[in-house]
Amino acid sequence: MEQIEKININIEGRIYSVPKNMTVLEAARLAGYNIPTLCYWNHGQNSLASCRVCLVEIATARGGRLFASCVYPVADCPADKGFEIKISSPMAVRARRASVELLLSNHSMDCQPCPKNGQCELLHVSQVVGARPEQFLGAKTPTTLDELAPGLVRDTSKCILCGRCIERCKDAQGIGILGFEKRGFNTIVAPIGNRSFSEVPCLQCGQCIEVCPTGALTEHREIEKIDAAKAAGKYVVVQTAPAVRAAIAEEFGHRIGEQDGTGRMVAALHRLGFDRVFDTNFGADLTIMEEAQELVNRITKKQVLPQITSCSPGWINYMEFFYKDLIPNVSTCKSPHEMEGAVIKSYFAKSHNLKPEDIFVVSVMPCTAKKYEAKRPQNAAVNGLPDVDAVITTRELAVMIKRAGILWDELPEEEFDQDLLGQYTGAGVIFGATGGVMEAAVRTAYHTLTGKEMNPIEFKPVRGMEAVKVAEVEVAGITLKLAVASGMKNAKPLLDEIRAGKSPYHFIEIMCCPGGCVNGGGQPFVKPNLLPHEGPDVLDTYRQKRAAILYKIDEGLPLRQSHNNPDIQKLYKDFLGEPCSEESEELLHTTYVADRKAY
């Protein structure tokens, strides 16, 4: 094992031996000190050292000065050279508190109705540093409230200029929609020209929301729409995406990866007054039927290849802004919840003698881009009605559950409603992890082309959190070349390859959020500052832990291939005919637009 070089440092008078390449912040954590931080994020990915909250006094014989511990290398303050790190010197405590009080003086004071109440890192650190009321009152930077985009809301009155969102958008998606503008006190974080998200090529993926420490970036809530629909007497059907169950327990105090929330989630939904509680996994199975058939068609009829999945609206937005020339490559399949919505308003409605306009479909998604997706006119198959009427995030569902006073841990485990759309397979469940769609599709495509089930059922080369995964599978004499990418920055090289006519692949899965939907913009926040019971490296492990829940569910299910879902088989037999039939095309497939301007 490689020997990590160590160094002795002096923290508050005690000597600690720590790895030499650490920062003072990390080393202090090892020594048992959790120095208050605010803008710091994920091993200093964006370390601007700008909030000046993590200040410590580093004292030498010539006196002490304050430094940001998140960037200060321990190598520069060895104990044997007389350096001492004082976390609680009077100067450090005062300055830390003043940094927070100054931020508060330029911040919205409406904490109670703020959607981040209870999960706000600024509020948390205010308490930790002992911020006093009404310090440094004065003028505030002019603010902007942007509610125009369906997925996201930007409120600069709550921004602390930490810069995490700027880096995240560049890091995850490679496009860098957000940036600092102006200088000094007037500085804001905004899309170019302080435009709305809806006026720039924002993917609405919500990755920025996931990192925002305050309520400056939040999702556009749709809970009120559900309340209104119920009040108006609509028949309200709810469906839940696979990734939701992998994380929802976290909203109720459980550790990441600890609990498969499926049963309790369904029980909660039953108690929230929905007329039907379905699983989007059914839609996922349906998507596989259609998409696998589409792939087989493209291969056998020598049509455009590679085929790229289309269930990630963040990716679809990216494609329509920047790669419209690749529209022929994108599968025409709607995403699972849209398919399910269309089926609910046609097949389900008919069998229950319900008028489609009386049905209100709610999707619980780990995603914010789906709030945009649901409003696309191309996703309105039945009488021009939207396939899905409202999309709420995992977080919004938790809000509804808490609002109803339901105690999560006392819920029994219940099953989804078995009513035409109740069955689902393990192939559908794994959609929530990167590589899941690909694996599910391979399980079915294999069967379609060979008439046999794949053995083993799992297709592990496409699992895991790497940026791009590449695999091959032999099917009926063809070597299918497959690629999986998550995060648009990682996917871009694959797209450029297709554009240049050099792509070797048959089928590519692209998910907008790095790691797949388990890391979606609508998932519970993973904020190390607010999760003291998780380890300090939680940001490195949470996606895998959530994905592991899904793979475990898949292993335990009796049905693991989409084509073996009896409700799916019945749907085709009684209603759609076969995958990619005319009925399927009308209900379950969509089109893309080539005229969206990037800027």
Binding site: S47, L48, A49, S50, C51, R52, L55, R65, L66, F67, A68, V71, Y72, P73, D76, M91, R94, A95, R96, A98, S99, L102, L103, S105, N106, F136, G138, A139, I160, L161, F180, K182, R183, G184, F185, N186, T187
Partner: protein, 638 residues
């Protein structure tokens, strides 16, 4: 010019150019030479036209072979410009106008007679002084950084070669190892002239110790301190010297690429630097294998774009990298990880301009000047309420009293000295009690100020200490990059509190809050801009507490500056009713009262229909036009 490819060729060229240059300034063969100041200040006063007129007249008289005309860099004595100097007599003409050129040509250049009316008059002895070096402003100066300024034509490489240019480079490249160069600079004791005061040799040593495939030397020409124009003058007067200093730095710690970062507000300096680089490239003094050695060096020029914070070295590096000029946390220091992540030394223009002297003459020539802790000379830009506004280069250890009174000529108009602000917006003010302080990095800090880049603004009794602090705070707020909360929000809050005080709305609690906040901003900010932002406030509060108290308890501004606490008043029995003030007033708030005007000529009766005027205080915007134009002293500030 033929390419210089070896030390021998360089020596030959130096010898040739030196004898030409010496011949010129010594007037060999009966020839005369005239130089015109081409610094920004004098150019604003038409010195280009003066040069053109000289050339024209000399040509007209067919004397081009006997009289050479050149423009040179800043003479430094800017309040007396434009300057024209004659060689070999060293006669210095001041305040020259285009219409004076004919006289200079006829009387002096041709006739050999001094033009008395264009000479400097000593304000104490009232005597005319002909030779530049006899003028008190110049007597105490030792020009190391300003070496060559006002002597050589900065657009001519041959004049630099003729006046010590590149001797140091030759010496270093042919007889010294890089470590020996660092050792010499260390021994000289030179500390960063940009304000930080960090020992230059130590900075180079850090960078030399790092192994890297590429290192950079960056010259900080983003002289942003208002009132500081040392670097501008050096670049305008002898850009070759700075480039040479940069090359010596590159040789010393292993940088083969150098970047100049110069403010865009200095177009003349930029142009001269650009031309100097081009000429040196053509001559083979920049590029591959300089003087036939293994040392290759390229110089590049990048411009600022109007951001004071880019004078901070890490913000400067970010700016070169095409980003917003926001500072980086240190460590890691630029010497370890700087421009594009490579080891980089950022040195000030003035620092680099003194390096050739150190190498050429030796460390002891430098460290024999100055004090224990601060060696060598420093260029100061004296400005504000002082008779001799301009640039001076004096040994460290010169006292403030000497600077202000002996060299600066004291306060104009017989007004009382109040304070001298050193270090710009990062510094503090020094008062009467500090006047005998020897100027030195550490003594100034001990007295609550700092050396800064060398800007020194003198204030008199008509300046309000609170108002000056308010001015500096407004500057800092404007120029704060906005990255860290103590500076971004803290300075704004400090400015708001100060505004309350200047408007008469502050209380004693305000003063207490200001001091507390100032200390927090000082302790918590990311970079030196924030860390020193509160210095003007702390310094003025410390030195002029009674002024602050007057503003908050009596709601009075003793210096009659703060607008809300002062007013312009017309003294009716001095007013002759000429109505000039009323006509000048931009808001037309001055009108006739019913008091008859005073006679314009004493003894004679007042003209009928003339009334003393009065100002409508409710409309007055306190612009001061009225008082500026009144020739009868009838308008005062109260």
């Amino acid at each position: 010019m033929e390419r210089i490819t070896s030390p021998e060729t360089l020596q030959k060229r130096i010898d040739e150019c030196t004898s030409v240059f010496q011949a010129k300034i010594k007037g060999e063969g009966g020839k005369r030479a005239v130089v015109v100041c081409g610094g920004t200040g004098c150019i604003a006063n038409d010195s280009v036209a003066i040069e053109e007129e000289l050339v024209r007249l000399i040509k007209e008289k067919g004397l081009e072979d006997r009289i050479s005309v050149n423009h040179v860099g800043c003479f430094g004595f800017c309040s007396q410009g434009p300057f024209v100097k004659i060689f070999p007599e060293d006669t210095l003409y001041r305040g020259v106008k285009v219409k004076d050129v004919a006289e200079i040509v006829e009387k002096d250049l041709i006739g050999g007679q001094v033009c008395e009316n264009l000479l400097y008059v000593d304000p104490v002895t009232h005597e005319k002084v002909a030779r530049q070096d006899d003028i008190t402003f110049y007597k105490k100066q030792i020009r190391i950084a300003l070496h060559g300024c006002s002597l050589i034509n900065p657009d001519k490489l041959e004049e630099s070669l003729g006046y010590d240019g590149f001797k140091a480079l030759k010496k270093a490249l042919t007889t010294m190892t890089p470590q020996e160069v660092i050792d010499e600079v260390l021994a000289s004791g030179i500390r960063g002239r940009g304000g930080g005061g960090f020992p230059t040799g130590r900075k180079w040593q850090f960078a030399a110790n790092v192994k890297a495939d590429q290192k950079y030397i960056v010259c900080n020409g983003d002289e942003g301190d208002p009132g500081a124009f040392m670097d501008r003058s050096i670049l305008e007067g002898n850009p070759f010297e700075v480039i040479e200093g940069m090359m010596l730095a590159g040789y010393a710690f292993g940088a083969s690429e150098g970047y100049f970062y110069v403010r865009a507000e200095y177009p003349i300096a930029v142009e001269r630097l650009q031309n100097a680089i081009k000429d040196m490239e053509a001559a083979g003094l920049l590029g591959d294998n300089i003087l036939g050695t293994d040392f290759s060096f390229r110089a590049h020029l990048r411009l600022g774009a109007g951001a004071f914070v880019c004078g901070e070295e890490t913000a400067l590096l970010n700016s070169i990298e095409g980003k917003r000029g926001m500072p980086r946390p240190r460590p890691p220091f630029p010497a370890i990880k700087g421009l594009w992540g490579k080891p980089t030394c950022v040195n000030n223009v003035e620092t680099l301009s003194q390096i050739p002297f150190i190498i050429r003459e030796g460390a002891s020539a430098f460290n024999s000047i100055g004090t224990e802790g601060s060696k060598g000379t420093k260029v100061f830009a004296l400005g504000g309420k002082i008779n001799n506004v301009g640039l001076v280069e004096v040994p460290m250890g010169t006292t403030l009293r000497q600077l202000i009174y002996e060299i600066g000529g004291g306060i104009p108009g017989g007004k009382k000295f109040k304070a001298i602000q050193t270090g710009g917006p990062s510094g503090g003010c020094l008062t009467e009690k500090d006047l005998d302080t020897p100027i030195d990095y550490d003594t100034l800090v001990a007295r609550g100020s700092m050396m800064g880049s060398g800007g020194a603004i003198v204030m008199d009794e008509d300046n309000c200490a609170v108002d000056v602090a308010h001015f500096y705070m407004s500057f800092i707020c404007d120029e704060s990059c906005g990255k860290c909360s103590p500076c971004r929000i803290g300075t704004k809050r400090l400015y708001e509190m100060l505004t309350l005080v200047t408007e008469g709305k502050g209380t004693e609690q305000t003063l207490k809050d200001m001091e507390e906040l100032a200390n927090v901003i000082k302790a918590g900010s990311l970079c030196a801009l924030g860390q020193t932002a509160a210095n003007p406030i702390l310094s003025t509060m410390h030195n002029f507490p009674e002024e602050y108290i007057a503003h908050v308890t009596e709601k009075k501004c003793p210096a009659h500056v703060c607008k809300n606490l002062m007013s312009y008043q017309i003294i009716k029995d001095k007013c002759v009713g000429c109505t000039l003030c009323a006509r000048n007033c931009p808001v037309s708030c001055i009108s006739a009262s019913d008091v008859p005007a005073r006679p314009m000529v004493p003894g004679k009766p007042a003209l009928p229909g003339k009334f003393a005027h009065e100002i409508d205080q409710s409309k007055c915007i306190k612009c001061g036009s009225c008082m500026a134009g009144c020739r009868f002293g009838a308008i005062v500030k109260q």
